[in-house]
Amino acid sequence: MTAIGALGAVTANVRPVKPRQRGKVVATLLVLAAITVWAGLGVQIDLPEIVANFSNAVGNVVQLTQPDYGFFPKTIPALVETVDMAVIATVIGSAISLPIAFFASRATNPNTWLLMGLRFVMNLIRSIPDILLAAILVAVVGVGALPGIMALVIFNIGIIVKLVSEALDGEDTGPHEAALAAGASWLKAGRSAMLPQILPAYASQVLYTFEINIRASTVIGLVGAGGLGILIDNVRSFFRYHELSLIILEILLLVVLLESFSAWLRKRLI
């Protein structure tokens, strides 16, 4: 092993000294351990309680392993509604996000204030969990699939705009400048010079969003926003574990099937 010294002289068998980081590592670990103890106290990890509960719980667990397949016909409308919500939200959300993404990227929007403002709003939207949004929208527009779709659309705009505008940031702006120099409007320059470049990334993001939506739309009904979640809430409050287990099985199949389909499609796109 040879090392090159600071002045370029090659000296044999002299390795550079490894920088000492032990102090830093120990300090970091101590801080992490402190946070963990603090969090553990807050969460009230109570193992004896769990052991005591477990004997009661065995019955529930046994019920959960035996899905009630006779319940299936009654779940079909909710199942369809779940998929409907995800599809509609994906279509509307991705349609609204595309133009906004152009305003949220430095490559296509020279106005710093508009850019920062938009990005801030998108950060804001993404930090509100979709189910919380749905819970509020249910109170505003009433129970049903509509508030669920609206919550998903709002959340989708947050994600797609972020990811697509970052894709735009990374693209070559040469064609865009050329189009502008040739006298194109911002709209036309973006449409003909930038859009084709990000189309595969955009399509892949839309599919990714669809996966998120499928997952979210299965549980968003817990707050009254349509789909399988409403059923979960019903059977849960009556402790019908056989039926609950069937619903969970359906969610599992739905998510795994649609996700692997979408993942396959995404792989083909890129």
């Binding site: 963990t36 969090a39 990890i45 409907d84 509609i88 969990p129």
Partner: protein, 297 residues
């Protein structure tokens, strides 16, 4: 193919451009997508009339929530949010503790197929179940406590981190791995010296990223009664205390954004070897196996 060109016998002129070729597969795909979207729209039987006065309604509720929010609830809301963050932290740690060793057994260069493939299946199933559903299952055993929420987050994290883990291990350069193997090292040595040095930065940053996800998810878990900010929110929405809801939302947004920025800064340090000023960078979603792993200078 139907890619028709304009008349080629005429003299070429600037205005006479060839037509764009028609791609039938893509047309069919668009037709299919449109069909599915329309079918979904009509089968959902939405009551669109509710949307007509939505802008007015939304404005009314925004005013109710934020003009002004109930500042008296700030302390209570903050305490609840702290509990949510604690749930997320414990959930993430438990998830790491289980998924980290398992993901070694799911990585192709390290484990035989009869172990790695079933493990990957388990990760996939765990990822497919939403955390809320996991929480409903677990609470039949543990009862409604914040710890239930943490456990549910841990289960979700195992699926997610397990996958990221083995993907990271597989993306590692095979050179050091072979070098360590050639010294006659055992399995533990392979992991410690062949894989960990090149995978650690990315893996740590993925762990942090999962913590960010869990902070968001823990707010949701409160809705089914697992405690934290979500419980307080659903209670206040039910009783229509809109000014309290506004305060809670503010706390959720501010705390989530602060944690995102802090964690994002640490992840940037881990991956790029230097600190970045928070709020100044456009962060990318970490894509496992695509992140450049740089050795800190």
């Amino acid at each position: 193919m139907a890619g028709t060109l304009t008349d080629t016998s005429s003299a070429p002129s600037l205005t006479n451009r060839p037509d764009k070729p028609v791609s039938w597969p893509s047309r069919l795909l668009w037709l299919l997508v449109t069909g599915i979207a329309l079918a979904a729209y009509f089968s959902a039987k939405l009551d669109i009339s509710a949307l007509a006065d939505f802008p007015a309604q939304a404005w009314k509720y925004l005013l109710l929530m934020f003009a002004p929010p109930n500042w008296g609830k700030l302390g209570e809301a903050f305490t609840a949010m702290v509990l949510s963050v604690q749930m997320a932290w414990i959930g993430t740690l438990l998830g790491i503790a289980v998924s980290f060793p398992l993901s070694f057994f799911a990585a192709a260069p390290l484990a035989p197929r009869w172990i790695s493939w079933p493990l990957r299946g388990v990760f996939a199933v765990l990822r497919a179940v939403p955390e809320v559903v996991t929480a409903i299952l677990i609470l039949s055993v543990t009862g409604l406590t914040p710890f239930t929420g943490a456990l549910a987050l841990a289960v979700g994290s195992i699926g997610n981190l397990g996958k990221w883990g083995y993907e990271t291990f597989e993306a590692v350069d095979r050179g050091p791995l072979e070098a360590v193997r050639s010294t006659g090292s055992g399995a533990v040595g392979l992991m410690r010296w062949g894989i960990w040095p090149s995978a650690s930065a990315e893996l740590l940053s993925l762990w942090l990223y999962r913590f960010e996800i869990n902070v968001r998810a823990s707010a949701i878990l409160g809705l089914i009664g697992a405690g934290g900010i979500g419980k307080m929110l659903s209670d206040n929405v039910q009783f229509r205390n809109w000014d309290a809801v506004g305060m809670l939302l503010l706390v959720v947004i501010v705390v989530t954004m602060i944690i995102d920025q802090l964690s994002g800064a640490v992840r940037h340090r881990l991956i790029h070897g230097r600190w970045a000023v928070p709020f100044s960078t456009a962060r990318r979603r970490p894509r496992s196996s695509k992140l450049p792993v740089e050795v800190p200078a």
